[in-house]
């Protein structure tokens, strides 16, 4: 339906929009104070990821990217939130603030710096290959989302937000990937469908075990092992 070349400018403009909103939801994850908010921003980010995959797959038509987009909707909009609510329900809905090492304004500043760094790293790569396609937007944005994922993971001391940070990192890597490797992205299909689910399952089980044994899900409180 979008196969004529005249659609490419519209699709790529829409993809720019999706990329911008994708990055914005990564910032949202840095700025939020509650686990549920973190999860909601992650779901939002996954929606924009799926939209970008569908747009890139529409012209030139690439069924594997469309499959990536659709699989992504099924797993990240329904299965992962469902699994999290099943295994660590009280953690997701707890209305208390997440313990955070740095406060939110500082975090947002650092997040901005990380985004600039991502552009700084990605631009020479894009120039080196003379890229004109979707990767021009998706590579720096994906890299920035990856770095923001590392940051949220590092400053949060709660286990469920750390899990969501890991999933957000993979989202970022895949967001860059869909624009670069269409046609080779068997890995993306497999990994999106299976990896993220396995990751959520394993870490959910572990979080519940930690909660039952130690009585907290604050991963930062786990500091028993050290050399003595």
């Amino acid at each position: 339906m979008f196969s004529s070349p005249s659609f490419i400018p519209i699709l790529s403009a829409l993809n720019d929009l999706a990329a911008g909103l994708f990055l914005l939801s990564a910032f949202g994850m840095v700025a939020t104070r509650q686990t549920l908010g973190c999860l909601r921003f992650f779901i939002l980010q996954s929606i924009f990821f799926g939209v970008s995959a569908l747009l890139i797959g529409a012209n030139p038509l690439a069924w594997d990217l469309i499959a990536v987009g659709l699989l992504n909707f099924v797993t990240k909009l329904f299965l992962i939130p469902w699994m999290l609510r099943r295994t660590v329900r009280e953690e997701v809905y707890a209305r208390r603030e997440i313990v955070q090492v740095l406060n939110i304004p500082t975090s947002l500043l650092i997040a901005m710096i990380l985004t600039v760094i991502a552009y700084f790293v990605a631009t020479p790569m894009l120039h080196a290959v003379g890229e004109t396609g979707y990767a021009k937007v998706n590579l720096p944005v994906g890299l920035a989302a990856l770095l923001l994922g590392v940051y949220t993971l590092a400053v949060r001391r709660e286990s469920v937000p750390q899990l969501i940070g890991l999933l957000a990192m993979e989202n970022g890597a895949f967001f860059a990937g869909i624009a670069m490797v269409s046609g080779l992205s068997l890995i993306a299909e497999l990994a999106i469908a299976f990896d993220a689910l396995m990751l959520t399952f394993v870490m959910g089980v572990l979080t519940r075990a930690i909660q039952m044994r130690i009585g907290t899900t604050e991963a930062g409180a786990l500091a028993f092992l050290r050399e003595n």
Binding site: V129, L146, G177, M180, L186, A191, F224, L225
Partner: protein, 305 residues
């Protein structure tokens, strides 16, 4: 064909161990499957020695000299650890459920490590490395004590962070390959195409993968999880973690070195050597302060090169 059987057998054994109806057979099934895997690996290695390469599924599953070596290592340690598991689990497991969880995860963990050397598409190798973490986490936390859970949490968070960074590296690698319209995306195809691939992209990909997988290998300064996870895991699992898992991931990095050699922008071998020396040095000094013998072994694992 036996290469495909090597991958199917542990999955079957995991299923037998997990299903309640057949779980009484779990130790026997695990022992039998890892024994059969060892025999088939020996046969495959002999074929590699005489013919040079064995391909079971061209473009997907094949074994050459380097991967046969790693495969043999995994099979030998896997068999030995499954023999040791028999008595160890009988003595330490408290509930039937623990036994089921242990053997199911043990076999899946073995499956993921066997698939790293056997798969020849880089992207699938990344998936297999990711699975080695996911299948071994519940083995590290098996004893369900405060310390074991902490070790498992550190292990899963740090290594999966590394894996996500390496994932971007693999994406950049396949991007570089696609830009030159490369056809067969395997290790061999990459090596032969490397000379014409964009050197900057190769460099970025290699660095991302080195840092990402370096966490899992335990390269200093990314080694902090390693002594904890290795010392808290049950002994047979500890053997697999330090004897095989790090080696298998190191193999994935090693596969990139000939590719980087073809693109002379970064001396990958020298960089890896420097990191390895740093790891060895730091780990050796930390060994002086450690008194728990399992942690001693763990620190000696953090000296991969």
């Amino acid at each position: 064909m036996s290469l495909i059987a090597i991958l199917i057998l542990p999955m079957f054994a995991a299923l037998v161990s997990w299903l309640r109806a057949t779980s009484a057979l779990a130790p026997v099934a695990t022992l039998a499957s890892s024994g059969a895997i060892l025999l088939m690996t020996l046969k495959a290695t002999a074929t590699v020695l005489s013919k040079g390469e064995v391909a079971a599924l061209p473009g997907w599953i094949a074994v050459d000299g380097l991967s046969a070596l790693i495969l043999l290592l995994v099979a030998v340690v896997g068999f030995a650890a499954s023999v040791f598991s028999l008595g160890y689990i009988r003595a330490t497991a408290h509930t039937p459920r623990q036994v089921r969880v242990y053997y199911a995860n043990y076999n899946l963990f073995l499956f993921s490590m066997l698939s790293v050397p056997v798969l020849i598409q880089p992207n699938l190798v990344w998936t297999a490395v990711e699975l080695t973490t996911l299948f071994s986490v519940l083995l590290v936390s098996f004893e369900d004590t405060r310390d074991a859970l902490e070790a498992a949490w550190k292990y899963v968070v740090l290594t999966l962070m590394g894996a996500a960074i390496a994932l971007l590296g693999f994406m950049v690698l396949s991007w570089a390959f696609r830009r030159i319209n490369g056809q067969v995306y395997t290790w061999a195809g990459l090596t032969s195409a490397a000379a014409s691939m964009n050197p900057l992209l190769l460099k970025v990909a290699f660095l991302l993968i080195l840092v990402g997988f370096g966490v899992k290998v335990g390269l200093v300064p990314l080694h902090t999880w390693l002594p904890d996870a290795h010392s808290q895991a049950p002994s047979p699992v500890c053997a697999l973690l330090s004897g095989v898992e790090t080696t298998v991931v190191l193999y994935a990095i090693l596969r990139l070195v000939p590719i980087m050699k073809a693109a002379p922008v970064l001396d990958a071998a020298k960089g890896a050597l420097a990191l390895g020396l740093l790891s060895t040095g730091v780990a050796s000094f930390m060994l002086l302060r450690v008194h728990d013998y399992k942690r001693l072994f763990a620190f000696s694992t953090a000296r991969p090169c």
